[in-house]
Subunit: 125 residues, 2 copies
């Protein structure tokens, strides 16, 4: 991932604790694909897509340590796949579906459908 200017958190973030997010124009397809190419991160994205709302990290059960979890969420945020916004003491995660759909129409939906199809296939085997 190349270094690019990062904007601060989107509207709605609590003042004072803002994490860096790429502006839509700085989101790169290869970074998004890399972010989605890890099973743990894909689990997070599927959970956020299914929830259709903000979730905390602990809302999504993952088979990894807390520091590894933090790492995976950071990769997703820095690639432009999710927002991470502090609301009070909670860090809330959400899919950047509008940005991704505008930049790469159909991509997120096809990845989510592919993940569903594979999960069904693996379950059947």
């Amino acid at each position: 991932m190349t270094a690019r200017p990062l904007v601060t958190a989107p509207a709605g973030a609590a003042p004072g604790r803002m994490l860096a997010h790429p502006a839509p124009a700085d989101i790169r397809l290869t970074d998004v694909l890399h972010a989605l190419s890890d099973p743990v991160r894909l689990t997070v994205v599927r959970a956020l897509a299914g929830a259709r709302t903000e979730l905390t990290c602990s809302d999504v059960p993952l088979p990894v340590t807390k520091s590894t979890t933090t790492h995976h969420y950071r990769v997703l945020r820095e690639a432009g796949v999710i927002t991470q916004i502090y609301r009070g003491t909670s860090k809330m995660n959400a899919l950047r579906r509008d940005d991704l759909d505008r930049l790469f129409p159909g991509l997120l939906d096809s990845v989510l459908a592919a993940a569903d199809a594979q999960a069904r296939r693996m379950g059947e085997r």
Copy 2:
């Protein structure tokens, strides 16, 4: 990428020099996304998609050394994105479009469309 059984080359390969390819049932979404998440590999995939036929490695100009080129093609082959088949002394590369479309409908097309859109956007900036 986890180790999985690899099948030998698809039909049409010259006998004696077969490279390992994953069977369709062993192609994993995260491996495919990882293979597509590199700019050089994405260039190869776009070239193969545009050509709609087999190409040699030297048919696709890349800004990397020959050994790096070989590495990138191997990653694409082992992920199930391309076939690499020796025909006489030439190693011919082709997209596994039918396999990918069957496993992950719409995924390859949306990635190719996203890559085109991004290239246009970057050219315009």
